[in-house]
C-alpha cells in the first residue's frame, strides 16, 4: 500500500491530521510507509491536483475524492463528515474506510 500525505504549511492542523492517519493505520494493523509532500507552489499544487490541506492519497487515490473540476489551490481543505460536521481534517472513519477499501484481504462489507 502506498500512502501520500500532502499538506500546506499555512493550514494549522496538518500535524494533527498526520497523527490521526498514523493512529488509524495502527488500529488497522497497516504498516505502510507514509510519504509526506509539502505543497509550496501553485505549480506543485496543480501537478498533484492538490485542492487543499491536508490531502491523503492511498495508492494514488484521494480518500475523499473531490469533484474533477475542483481547482488546485494552496489552501485548507473542507471535509464534510458523515454526521454533517465540517472539519479541516478527515474523520478517523473516513480514513479507516479508505484504508480498508485498499486492503486486498479485507474488502469492505457495507451493512
Amino acid at each position: 500500500m502506498k500512502i501520500d500525505f500532502l499538506y500546506y504549511e499555512d493550514c494549522p492542523s496538518h500535524e494533527q491530521a498526520l497523527a490521526r492517519l498514523k493512529q488509524v493505520m495502527a488500529e488497522e494493523g497497516i504498516d505502510a510507509p507514509i510519504t509526506i509532500h509539502k505543497m509550496e507552489t501553485e505549480e506543485q499544487a496543480r501537478a498533484w491536483h492538490f485542492i487543499g490541506s491536508p490531502t491523503i492519497l492511498i495508492d494514488g487515490e484521494d480518500i475523499d475524492p473531490p469533484p474533477p473540476d475542483a481547482p488546485a489551490a494552496l489552501t485548507c481543505r473542507v471535509y464534510r463528515w458523515d454526521d454533517g460536521r465540517i472539519s479541516p481534517m478527515p474523520s478517523p472513519e473516513m480514513i479507516r474506510r479508505a484504508l480498508r477499501a485498499k486492503r486486498p484481504s479485507s474488502p469492505i462489507h457495507e451493512t
Binding site: T75, C76, R77, V78, I86, S87, P88
Partner: protein, 176 residues
C-alpha cells in the same frame, strides 16, 4: 502595528452583503461589539460558523453586535468573492452584517492574520478579547473553553474577560 488588548477599535466603512455600507459608528450604542475576520472557503470558518450565528442570537437581547469581515483576495480564491459572500450570508442565514474588505486595509489595520479571528470590544470600544472562538473547531460538544462566549458574558457583567488573548486558529488571510 496590530491591535493589542487595551487598544481602541479602528473605524471603517465597508460594503455589506445586505446592500448597505456599514461603519463602526453604526453600532456605537452597543455594549459589546464583536468583529470577526472570516471568509467563505476556509474549513475553520465553516466549522465555527454555526456557533458564531448561535452566539449572536444568544446575546442579541443584551444588545451585543457581531460583524464579520472577509478580506481574502477573490482573484486567487473565487469562493470568497463579494457575490459568493452574498450567497453564503443568505444560505446560512447570517444574523450579522457580512462585510467586504476589498482593499484589505481593515484587516491590515487590525493586524488580523487568520480566518476566523475574533476581536471583542467593550462599550468604550477598547479591545478586551482577541483570538479564537473556543478551543475545539472540530466538535462543538467537546468544547472546554468558550473564549468568545465567556468574554462577552464577562463584559456584560462589567468584569474582565477570563481569558484576554488566545492564538487565532484558522486559514491564513489570503493577501493580494
Amino acid at each position: 502595528m496590530p491591535l493589542r488588548i487595551g487598544d481602541q477599535a479602528i473605524d471603517f466603512t465597508l460594503p455589506c452583503t445586505d446592500g448597505h455600507m456599514h461603519s463602526l459608528s453604526d453600532w456605537q450604542d452597543r455594549p459589546v461589539l464583536v468583529i470577526i475576520f472570516s471568509c467563505n472557503h476556509c474549513p475553520y470558518a465553516q466549522a465555527w460558523e454555526d456557533r458564531i450565528i448561535q452566539l449572536q442570537a444568544q446575546f442579541k437581547p443584551q444588545g451585543v453586535k457581531f460583524a464579520m469581515i472577509n478580506a481574502n483576495d477573490p482573484v486567487k480564491y473565487p469562493a470568497d468573492s463579494f457575490e459568493e459572500m452574498k450567497k453564503r450570508a443568505k444560505a446560512k442565514g447570517y444574523n450579522f452584517p457580512y462585510l467586504w474588505d476589498e482593499t484589505q486595509e481593515v484587516a491590515r489595520a487590525y493586524g488580523a492574520t487568520r480566518t476566523p479571528e475574533v476581536f471583542v470590544f467593550d462599550q468604550d470600544r477598547t479591545l478586551r478579547y482577541h483570538g479564537a472562538v473556543d478551543d475545539n473547531f472540530e466538535n462543538p460538544f467537546a468544547v472546554k473553553q468558550h473564549f468568545l462566549r465567556d468574554a462577552i458574558q464577562a463584559l456584560l457583567e462589567g468584569k474582565d474577560p477570563p481569558v484576554a488573548e488566545t492564538p487565532p486558529i484558522g486559514c491564513t488571510i489570503k493577501w493580494k
